[in-house]
Symmetry: C2
Subunit: 222 residues, 2 copies
Amino acid sequence: MSKTPKPSPCERILDAAEQAFSERGYEGASLREIVQEAGVNLATVYYYFDNKKALMEAVLKRRFGPIRTEHLELLRRFEAESEGQPLPVERILEAMLLPLLRLAVATPTKRQAVTRLIGRIMTEPNPQTQAILRRHRSEVRVAFLKALQASLPGVPPAELQWRIEFVWGALAFILCDPRKIEKETNGACNPADLETVMKEMVGFFAPGFRASSSNTARRMRQ
Amino acid sequence: MSKTPKPSPCERILDAAEQAFSERGYEGASLREIVQEAGVNLATVYYYFDNKKALMEAVLKRRFGPIRTEHLELLRRFEAESEGQPLPVERILEAMLLPLLRLAVATPTKRQAVTRLIGRIMTEPNPQTQAILRRHRSEVRVAFLKALQASLPGVPPAELQWRIEFVWGALAFILCDPRKIEKETNGACNPADLETVMKEMVGFFAPGFRASSSNTARRMRQ
DNA sequence: GTCTATAAAGGGATAGAC
DNA sequence: GTCTATCCCTTTATAGAC
């Protein structure tokens, strides 16, 4: 039974950077605080990374790969289990939400940095940041759109795309600061309980996905 | 017919700051770019405001008051129109979404700074920022929760609070960068069309609000 | 009220020894 | 690979003339 060895300097820099960027944003975090937290010298950053921006990209890249894989794997597994039948929208939502929610509500504060950072950059209008995000997530987006189209052939694709945006938006909001919800609701909502959060989100969004536009129009007119 | 007079230096600083903060964030925006855009001297900022943070608070304060008023007025008007009947959830959603969405999809780019900034700080984990936000929005939150409880007495309050969070989250996401959605969906979704966006959001969220947890549980179990 | 000038600190980045 | 030392720029903020 071996003690986990001290991570490499490069890894420690990435960990500290992830934490700092998630708390203070890209501009708000300084390399000096990052290296102090990582226990390395300032120059070490420039040995492993070209500059601050490259460090940020490395931080994102390290996480996006596995998360994308998990998203796609989960969806693929559900589809395999359903044996040709289109998935119920609840299952698709589960595959959309679980990988990131699981990380976000994991108890160790350290791991929350990942999702807080992702939530943050999802709402960052900076074009370069958006380009990174789009590059990493477009494959996942397409896969989920496809699954939803198969599951809900009666809903126009444009409408499904709107609804996907709404779900990502709500998810990003929670990722940014899960505990905020606890404070805002005076404890009525407990974001640390993964099962409940999943149940609430799936239960809220699934009926919306099933709704058809004509229904909406009718209700609005009344 | 009088030409609108050039706004006061103080106003011009607030406008420029709002724009800069919304595009580059609090840390990313510098007072120097703000004063240049505003056409005033750097020292002028310190004549009108204590420091950078106070400027940020002034920027937020100037907008939050009117928006809160609009939210509450709209809800009150709808309630007056319904003559004692509880409001349908569609109307409540309309009152929740319209004030900010209207600003966000208003054509002049200038006005989008307001909502982009609001969307941004909604996802900012910084405790001070969150305190400002909570101070300004708590009244609105309570009013909408009350309306929803009256409209949907069968849904437990904690559940309603979760659902309110999801709606704010999706809204914040759109406020941050409405045009992003157009790009991500290759033009299938047009966020500049206020009526459509409203219809999509209301049509998507209303069925979720009406859903009961037992329903959810049943569907999940299957 | 508005300007110039400058202080004081912190930031990213690099050179060069070891 | 890792360190010290430093460059050089930008930033917030202020002092003081007008």
